[in-house]
């Protein structure tokens, strides 16, 4: 059962990814990307990582991709012309991708201590313990400092974006600026 679902959604994922590259209309590509993200979430779910799966859907399929489609809709981007790509990309790109894939595959196949997850099993070693509990234990006890530092980093990025978007001496009222967010 799990294997069937795995192949089904892995197929969706790959088909979405290929479609993403082949489509010429940006909105089709964005929609394919949503298919990829959502199928990935199902694959996480099959591996027993239910929180990660739902977070993937809420954050990536729900929030990030809505912004993507928003930008496409607002900019009214048209069809792009189909080209064969640069010669450098075909000569170096494909071998580089194959080499990278080979290296990653060898590392994952030979690695010890990376941990393993199997289809249809939970991630946690203790049965009955949800991986939400485990995740929060690790995030808020063991890795508290890195977690907080990362959040400060994101805050700085937001402040930077506001500073860039803020035009000097603009006549925009503050409420309009809020509305633009």
């Amino acid at each position: 059962m799990h294997l069937i679902l795995f192949f089904l959604f892995a197929g969706f994922c790959l088909a979405g990814a290929i479609n993403l590259l082949l489509q010429t209309h940006p909105i089709n590509s964005a929609l394919s990307l949503i298919v990829v993200m959502t199928s990935l979430a199902v694959l996480y779910l099959l591996l027993g990582a239910e929180f990660l799966a739902i977070a993937q859907i809420i954050v990536y399929s729900g929030a990030v991709m809505v912004l993507f489609t928003f930008v496409v809709m607002l900019l009214n981007a048209g069809r792009e012309e189909r080209t064969l790509g640069s010669r450098a990309a075909t000569r170096i790109g494909f071998p580089a991708v194959v080499a990278l894939f080979a290296v990653l595959a060898t590392i994952f196949l030979h690695a010890q201590g990376l941990g393993a997850a199997h289809l249809g099993e939970g991630l946690s070693s203790a049965p009955g313990q949800s991986n939400l509990t485990l995740l929060s234990q690790i995030l808020f006890h063991e890795l508290l400092l890195p977690f907080e530092v990362t959040s400060v980093l994101i805050l700085i990025a937001i402040l930077g974006a506001v500073a860039i978007a803020h035009v000097e001496g603009s006549k925009m009222s503050s409420s309009e600026r809020v509305a633009e967010k």
Partner: protein, 347 residues
Amino acid sequence: MTIFAFFLWSLAKVAVVTVVMLMGIAYTVLLERKLVGRIQNRWGPSRVGPFGLLQPLVDGAKSFLKEDLIPTAVYRPIYLLAPIISLGCALIAIAVVPFGANLGPHGVDLFQISNINVGLLVILGITSIGVYGIALAGWSSNNKYSLLGSLRSSAQLISYELALGLSLVGVVLRAGSLNLRVIVEQQATLGAATWNILGGGQIVAFFIYLMAAFAETNRSPFDLPEAESELTGGYHTEYSSMKFAMFFMAEYGNMINVGCVATLLFLGGWTSPLGDLMGPFQSNFLNAFLPLFWFVGKVFLFLCLYVWVRGTLPRFRYDQLMNFGWRFLLPLAILNIVGTSLWLAYR
């Protein structure tokens, strides 16, 4: 239980819940028309069947039989996909909602399709996917009013989703779980006195949730995406016949979903307001179906509140809407989280 039996049970539950949900949507429309009619001192639908009770069925037949127009300039695949996304998301979210206590024989959970331990997040996730239906409908219609309506709507949904999600954090902190059954059972002990809205001290969170939920379902006073006087019809201007009906059904389905979540998280779910005072009964039938009655009753009251608000309040202006969401609801929700955490930590 073998996997085959599990499959059959799930299929049966899905079929029953879907039919009940669709009927619920149809009769929520009637409830709204009746109540708004009374608020405006008229009768509402009263011709088809006794008290107009057959009106939803006739309306459904009408939308099926109407001519299905597709304007020439639309972007066809997405134009056809958008109503399916909208209605699909509205119908799927009910799958994780528990309607009653888990008393079923042989480990079958009769009153919930699937008990997931991140159930609350699943509902939020499906709602966030539902935005695409509206955004894509407006864009693919190739009409400026549709596009304006869908942009307003998506911006509103994204803004209020934050306040909505944060208002639920207080409840999750109190329950220590995202499982909807655990959240309900944690409120069950003393009846209404331990519901999150009263004894749980989450009344502020409830009002934040209420207002964010009105905005999330595009209902008045936040119904700017469909503001008839400015946008003709909003994102579904170019849709006719059953495709328009699908958007319409999605809106009412989302109202029911929001009502279910409010009931589960703040109003004690399927538990009786009297708590253990009205203990378990002798008959198993009562024990199984009385919770169902409480659940449906609470959702019904919530829907009545929705209609009441629609009948009384005028529409917000767009900048008021955004200011209210970002400057008032969001900080208030964050304060509520801080307050609840402090209270839980130093209790």
